[in-house]
Amino acid sequence: MLTKRLIACFDIIGGRVTKAVQFQDNIDVAPAEELAKSMYDAGIDELIFYDITASSEKRSIDIETVKKVAKNVFIPFTVGGGLKSLADMYEALKAGAEKVSVDSMAVRNPDIIYQGAKAFGSQCVVLSTQVKKTNKTTSGYEVFIDGARLATGMDAVEWIKRGESLGAGEICLNSIDKDGTLSGYDLELMRLAESSVNIPLIASGGGGTPEHLKTLFTETQAQAAIISSMLYSPRLKRNFPVSEIKKYLKENGVCVRPPKAY
C-alpha cells in the first residue's frame, strides 16, 4: 500500500535554510545540505526546496546548493523558485533534483507546465500554488503569486484543474490563511481539490503538530504534507523528530514508511 508522505520544506536564502511566518521575517536555521542530510537520516520521505529570493533577485535557482544536497540525500527532492524556462528546469534536474516546482511563473506562462511535462515527464512537474479564502471566486479560494503578495483574481480550483490538464504530475496547495499559524491544515481546501483533480495532492500551510497530520490524512485524500516548523523552527518551544511524528501517525492508523526501514 502506498504510504502517506512527509515532505520537509526548506526556504533557502544563500544556501541556508530560513524560517518565515506568513512569508515574512525569515530567520536563519542551518546550511541546506546539513539540514537535508539530517532529515534524510531521520527518515523523512521527501524534501522540497524553495529558493525564495531567486525570483525577486532576478536570478536563476541556486544550483550549487542543489548539487551539494544530491550527493548525500537519496530520497526524492523538488526544487522551486527562479525557474523561468525549460533550460532552468533541465539544470535543476541535471543537478540531481527529481522534480521542479512552478508557481508564480506558471500563472504568468501556463504553457511552461505543458512544455515541462512534455520534455521531462509529468512526474517532474509540481504545480505549487498559494491560495487564500475569498468571496470573489466560485470555489471560495483565490490564487496569489509573488510570495503571496499579489492577488490574481483566478479561481484556485479552476487553476489546479487547468494545471492537471496541462500535464502537472502533482499539486501542492499552500493555504495563505494557514501558513505559519501552526493551527492545522486547511481541510476544506483539500476536500475541494481532491474532488476536482485526480493527480496526487500535497497539503501545505498550518502543520504544527503530529495531530494536524493525522487529521489531514484521515479526513482528506491528501497524499502528502509539507512540514517545516514542527521539524526545525527555532521559534517553537518544541520540535518533533521525524520518528516521533511517524510513530504517532502509525499508532493512529495512518500508513507511513517506518523511519528505520532497514
Binding site: 502506498l2 537519496f74 527529481e98 509529468s122 512526474q123 514508511r257
Partner: protein, 202 residues
Amino acid sequence: MIKIINYKAGNAPSVMHAVNKLGYSAEFAFKSEDLLSASHIILPGVGSAKATIESLNELNLINTLEEMVLAKKVPFLGICVGLQILFERSEEDDADCLGWLKGKVVKFDSKKVRVPQMGWNKVSFVKQTPAFASDDYFYFVNSYYAVPEDKTDVWGAADYGGAFTAAIQRGNIFATQFHAEKSGEAGLSLLNNFLKLTREDL
C-alpha cells in the same frame, strides 16, 4: 567499469550519486562504444517509454546494448521506464519496446487510484535472485506498470489498487519499477547487491 546510460531526460546524475556513495566509480555512457567495456550496465529512466526508445535510437545504443546484455550476459539494471521498455509494448503512446521480455506495459486504473502513483510503497520480493533484496519500502513514480507473460520473471510485487509488478529479473537482467537510487538505505542496499554481482554469480 560500471556504465550508466545517460540520455536526454533520464536521471542518470542521481544514479551516479548513489553508485558513488556506495564506493564504486562509474562512467556515463553516451554512445555505443562506451558500453563495450561495461562490467555492469544501468539504464535509468524517467519520462515515457516512447521517448526513451527514441533517445536510445538517436544515440544508436540499442544494438550494442543487446549484444552486451543478451549475448555477453553483462549484469543489467533497468530503473522505472528502464524496466518498462524491456517488454514488447507499452500502452503509453502505443510504443514498440525492446521485447527482451514477453509482456506489455499498462496504465493504472485512474477510477481506482490517483495516477501517477507517487510515493513510498512496500515491495515484497517473491523469488530469490543472485542480487539479494529484502521486503521494504521503495519510492515509486509511475502511471504505467509491466505485466510479464512469464510470471517467473516477477522479482517483486507491490499493491496500488491491486497487485502490480514492482521488480523483474531474468538471468542477468534486473529491473525495478521503483527508483532504487532514491529509495533511501533500502534502495542503496539493493543497488549495492546488484553492483556486487559478477558474471559467475549469474
